[in-house]
């Protein structure tokens, strides 16, 4: 792209510099719609808090001695949150965002809890979300690494051996349609009974979940060079190994990264679910379970958002690696 903006750019001649106009235009195309949708979701969330928390709001108010419209609690029991909020608009509005254990915590309550979890406690204390996030992330990362390496190895085998292709590949594809996560509790308990616990069982679940997406994607990628390219290398007299290192492996990279992103997301879900049957000691899954036992809704939501941030950051890192690698290989689209 040239350094100066074209003079014909929309708004280029009306006081702003051409570059500012271009920037503003790109904003209209990229960021603004996203921000609008996010803002609409947050607004909807705030709005939903009022009817969701209405029954508790009205109960708190009547205990505090304020007049509420169906005065007796038994009359209120059968009413929907919306109806209660409409009959007691003032009380429902003022109490919706200040409860300790709201049915639906408001975004700022979750953000505050998330902030205390991230910055309020030392990263090694069990009250810190960084600690729990690290427990989950280390299991996810270890399992993801194992699953990816095994998946690539199996894919290489499948591409080079017809027998393996015909015997294993249909099972790898079918396994994509099975809720593999169902075996997670069993792996945890069985490994516990033979004396293995802690990081390894969760990592095994994560590895298992990221394994099949990598196999399927990598087989597709290693087969992506077309007949012309393969023929060209044959005319050069390339051996099988050279064909693999110089053609198949480089051209499989876009496929590999696409399946790495899917695989990581699956690994993270595996690690979180793997933490459920261990009795809720450490990790984001344990925070979710403990929160649901004790009705600490804000804690559940903050653990959920911590998991979301973890997933987003990791997928972002994989995406950055992908862009860097593909740019160096001259494959950037």
């Amino acid at each position: 792209m040239s350094d100066t903006a074209p003079i014909a750019a929309q708004g280029a001649g009306v006081g702003r510099s051409g570059r500012v106009a271009l920037w503003a235009r790109s904003l209209g195309g990229g960021l603004a719609p996203v921000l609008t949708v996010v803002a609409a979701l947050v607004a909807l969330w705030y709005l939903a808090c009022i009817p969701m928390n209405a029954s508790q709001s009205v109960l708190d108010a009547s205990r505090a001695g304020i007049e509420v419209t169906p005065a007796s609690p038994s009359d209120r029991r059968g009413m929907s949150g919306t109806a209660l909020a409409l009959q007691n608009p003032g009380v429902a509005l003022s109490n919706a965002y200040v409860q300790d254990r709201p049915k639906l915590p408001a975004p700022h309550q979750v953000a505050a809890e998330l902030w205390t979890g991230l910055a309020g406690a030392a990263p090694t204390s069990p009250r810190s979300l960084i600690y729990h996030g690290w427990v989950t992330l280390s299991a996810t990362g270890l399992g993801f690494a194992i699953g990816t390496v095994m998946g690539i190895l199996l894919a290489v085998g499948i591409v080079h051996s017809r027998v393996m292709d015909m015997s294993v590949m249909p099972w790898a594809i079918i396994s994509q349609t099975i809720p593999i996560i169902a075996i997670a509790p069993m792996i945890i308990v069985v490994l516990y009974s033979v004396g293995i616990q802690g990081l390894v069982p969760k990592a095994i679940i994560s590895a298992y979940l990221s394994f099949f997406p990598v196999v399927v994607g990598m087989v597709k990628g290693l087969r992506s060079p077309d007949a012309m390219q393969i023929d060209l290398l044959r005319t050069y007299g390339a051996s099988r190994g050279e064909m693999f290192w110089k053609l198949r492996l480089p051209s499989s990279m876009p496929y590999l990264f696409a399946s790495l992103k899917i695989g990581f997301a699956a690994s993270l879900v595996g690690a979180i679910v793997g933490e459920l049957p261990t009795g809720a000691t450490a990790g984001l899954g344990a925070r979710l379970l403990a929160g649901s036992y004790y009705g600490q809704t804000i804690q559940i939501w903050s653990a959920l958002f911590a998991a979301a941030i973890l997933a987003a950051l990791s997928v972002g890192v994989i995406g950055a690696l992908e862009r860097g690698l593909l740019a160096r290989m001259g494959m950037r689209r």
């Binding site: 996010v38 809720p179 169902a182 069993m186 997301a265 939501w301």
Partner: protein, 281 residues
């Protein structure tokens, strides 16, 4: 020990047979293409049986396939009840509601370019998140019965379905749309006759992703609380009682349900998008 050696011999036999079939002249026949993976699978199961019996692995670590099959047959009534609770009530109803809702939102969002540009990145982002973590919240809101499981499934399938439908509706070329305009087609006619059919491969892609997500959502949500039936409930309680044969039987149920569900959607796709290059012969 003899049984373990028998397992290894069996493995060598099965592999040699498969190598013969795969490298032989009949490798292209559909029958051989089916036979090779079936032989591979049967060999693995037979080896599992022989090794478990040969090393007398305790049933609380790994039950033999015959034991699992016996449990499957003996507990068929319980398994059916769990299947109905988890799949028919939880996963299927959530799948239908979630996909229909995502479809409706996609049609609405598609009318304005601005919304479409906003929804695609947000939806893509949400689809990559561990949404199954909402299960404890939704179980708290909708109670222990199947309603909360259906709600988890709705949230899980919504974003993949939304992103795919929105992307599919944008998949018509300017030439095709111009042609519709020269015919004087209204918005609704263009939608029904051009854009929805063109979006079908994308929509079915979303549906196929959603089949697996629906089962995962329904099963994991049951780990957070359930009435006394359901696949996820039975797995978590049987694991607690170390009744691993029952756990494996439930896993077989989940695997069968997942494969058949996916297969049904894929078969429907083949009938609807017969015109697509990937289905031509």
């Amino acid at each position: 020990m003899a049984l373990v050696i028998a397992a290894l011999v069996l493995w060598a036999l099965g592999w040699t047979l498969n190598a013969r079939l795969a490298n032989g002249p009949q490798a292209g026949l559909p029958l051989v293409q089916l036979a090779v993976p079936v032989i591979f699978g049967l060999t693995l199961i037979a080896m599992w049986e022989l090794i478990v019996r040969g090393l007398s692995v305790p049933g609380v670590i790994l039950p033999a396939p015959t034991v699992i099959a016996a449990t499957f047959a003996a507990q068929a009534g319980t398994l059916w009840q769990d299947f109905v609770q988890t799949f028919v009530k939880g996963a299927l109803s959530g799948f239908l509601i979630g996909c229909a809702a995502a479809f409706a939102v996609a049609i609405l969002a598609d009318r304005t370019e601005f919304l479409r540009r906003g929804i695609l990145p947000v939806g893509n982002f949400m689809a990559a998140l561990p949404i199954v973590g909402t299960a404890p919240i939704l179980v708290m809101w909708f109670g222990f019965d199947w309603h909360s499981k259906a709600a988890v499934v709705v949230v899980m399938v919504f974003f993949p379905m939304l992103v795919n439908t929105v992307a599919g509706l944008a998949d018509t070329g300017p030439m095709q749309r111009d042609l519709m305009r020269t015919y004087g087609a209204s918005y609704l006619q263009t939608l029904v006759k051009l854009r929805l059919p063109a979006a079908m491969p994308f929509i079915f892609n979303g549906l196929k992703i959603s089949t697996t997500l629906a089962l995962i959502g329904a099963i994991v949500a049951e780990f957070f609380g359930s009435p006394i039936r359901g696949v996820g409930f039975r797995i978590s309680t049987s694991v607690g009682q170390l009744a691993l044969d029952m756990v494996w039987a439930e896993i077989v149920v989940a695997a069968l349900a997942g494969t058949l569900f996916y297969g049904a959607v894929a078969a429907l796709e083949k009938r609807v998008t017969f015109w697509h290059p990937s289905h031509r012969r």
